[in-house]
């Protein structure tokens, strides 16, 4: 009888603690990822702070030089140059003229300087994206192991809310344009890597085989065949990267990026719809210009869509 009552109370207790576990999440076994990552971040900054400082200074230097140059040039010359590039890329004169005119309109909103600042940040972030994304994409295309490692990371990067990138960048570089460039880069690099990888993997294996049959080395195949033939897809990657970077413009302004994004943010803070709209339209125009230019070059590099002409003599 005694034994039974003992068993009974134990059972009662068990049920109590079990029901507690089932109803509220047990607190004792919390995973302190928050603390870990903060500690990690701090120790990174503590140990490599000077490296981040050097990077910060260098990038800032390039940024101001470029921005200074673009602002020093007469506005109409910059617009003309952009128009010419758009024309040569797309081959459509009307489109180029339209894009140039819309830039003039933005200038008439009083947003010329901000547009140039955003454009500069974009150019730097995109350059960085290509410089880092292209080699990683090539590696992922040539090695299954690399691809197996990069794919889940890229998946994670693309689904992680973009605000999350802002915090560590501020840790590393402080508030300002450089942190914004690196945050933008982090956000824009996954499509660049993915599309480079895809482009190289989609290259016609028969052509690769032919070049191998003539004794081409791995490097010769990569530079002479794979990369040139993957170019349209790689350009689509650059295009995607630029679009993602533009989408980051407003968010990046929360950590001190200057330019059109900051203008939108100010509009939000002041409840000034018109201000936000003007800056927003300017971002749209920039997006269209950069999209048409990169897409135009991508199409130009695509030999598979070249018209079959039957070939004339000469």
């Amino acid at each position: 009888m005694n034994l039974f009552s003992q068993l009974g109370t134990w059972f009662q207790e068990c049920r109590a603690s079990l029901s507690q576990i089932l109803t509220t999440f047990p607190e004792g076994c919390r995973i302190p990822l928050k603390e870990w990552s903060n500690d990690g971040l701090r120790s990174l900054v503590r140990n490599y702070g000077n490296i981040f400082d050097i990077v910060n200074d260098q990038v800032l230097l390039i940024l101001y030089r470029l921005e200074g140059l673009l602002l020093a040039l007469p506005w109409w010359l910059v617009i003309l140059a952009i128009g010419v590039v758009a024309w040569s890329a797309s081959g459509k004169r009307g489109l180029a003229v339209g894009l140039a005119l819309s830039l003039v309109v933005i200038g008439m909103f009083g947003l010329w300087d901000d547009t140039v600042r955003t454009l500069t940040i974009m150019l730097l972030a995109t350059t960085l994206t290509v410089l880092v994304g292209l080699p990683i994409g090539i590696l992922a295309a040539t090695s299954r192991t690399v691809q197996a490692i990069t794919n889940p990371i890229l998946d994670g990067m693309q689904t992680l809310p973009s605000f999350v990138y802002l915090i560590p960048m501020v840790f590393f570089f402080g508030l300002g344009n450089v942190a914004a460039i690196f945050a933008t880069f982090t956000y824009a690099v996954p499509p660049m890597i993915r599309l480079t990888n895809l482009g190289i993997r989609l290259v016609d294996e028969q052509v690769v085989e032919a070049s191998e049959a003539f004794g081409a080395s791995t490097v010769q195949v990569l530079w002479g065949v794979r990369l040139p033939l993957a170019m349209p897809t790689i350009m689509a990657g650059v295009n995607q990267a630029i679009m993602m970077a533009l989408a980051m413009a407003v968010i990046a302004s929360m950590i001190g990026a200057r330019g059109l994004g900051a203008e939108v943010l100010r509009g939000v803070n002041n409840g000034n719809f018109g201000q936000g709209l003007e800056a927003g339209l300017a971002i749209v125009v920039l997006a269209i210009i950069l999209d048409r230019i990169t897409a135009g070059y991508g199409r130009r590099l695509d030999y598979s869509t070249e018209p079959a002409q039957g070939g004339g003599r000469g």
Binding site: Q206, V207, G215, A216, S217, V225
Partner: protein, 423 residues
Amino acid sequence: MAKIEVHNLYKIFGPRPQEVLSQVQAEVPKDEIWAKTGHTVGLDNISLSVEQGETFVVMGLSGSGKSTFVRCINRLIEATAGEILIDDSQVLELSDREIKQLRREKLGMVFQRFALLPHRSVIRNVAYGLRVQGVAREERLQRAQHWIDVVGLSGYEQVRPRQLSGGMQQRVGLARALCTDPEVLLMDEAFSALDPLIRREMQDELLRLQQELHKTIIFITHDLDEALRLGDRIAILKDGRLVQIGTPIEIITRPADYYVEAFVRDVNRARVLTAKVVMDREVALIPVSTPPQDALRGMRKLNQYLSYVVDHNRKYLGVVLAEQVASASKAGDPNLAGTLIADTPTTTPDKVLTDLLAVSAASTLPIAVVDEQGVFLGALPKALILRALASEHEILRVLASEQEGEELLSAKAAAWEAGEDWD
């Protein structure tokens, strides 16, 4: 001299080919290997040798292992077991660097779907092999230009491949393969993607080039007509196994099994059989100096209405018909010169029957087969041509008697020289 030798070559596709190899060697059928192990047998114990300067055709249905075979030779596909020798060097044992060297120097390849580099102009495609070798720009463009001229694409140097028609693209492919001056040319269904007329044109082009270049060519095709036109010898693959190797005539007249026979069944024999193979060698010849009454007696005895007349060197002169010989005999002619019908069709022994059908149809008289000196070799009556085209048995009989016929002919010639009478 054998340029390429292949000994007991195996290729098994799948994750663990070495483990499956012993089963394949124990002659377990391909289907069973697939069902039991999930491995595909690509090549099953191939041994053959290709002579210097030979056009060696490999033929077989889709999936029989033709592409696999040709790619094992330049090691675009690594064989599972066996031995390949090119000029006595063991291809399968070459290091990575050495095999690239071999491909650059000795092996050219032409592909079914052309596989040209779409971003390079025609001339830079043709020069590609030289570029890979690191030949200086000047020289490689100059050499590429030469081959562009040879294949008849002058004027298209700066055009991109996609802008050319299929036939022209394959000319670029051919020029590209020839530009490095390789000793061996590997051609994987090089003409299969072209329409019939262009295809024929390319075959002629290849035959023309080969007459000057004497490359060793391994030519893959699934088309028997193409194989018969191009091949010095033909190998037939089935399920990765070598079913038969032989000259075109051997393949169509003595198919090794029902598989080859099925291939051969609808071939246009007229395009393959030559006058020499089909002609009747056992005809009686009459010297022109024979008195008509003797000739008539002989013809009656042999029950012949028509006889072939030759001079004392066995040079063919024409035919005589029995009734005319009879009237000449009555008229008391001294010999057959007066009754001779000299205007009869003749042919050389290497003409194929296609070319002879029209000749044969245009005349009521048989075709005489003569050599370059005009010496009589045999006769081709219309009935014989038709029979050769119609029935396999007839060809078999003709071929079986080929040996016999040659002996008979030389025996007759000997008798002739010994001064014996023709009957």
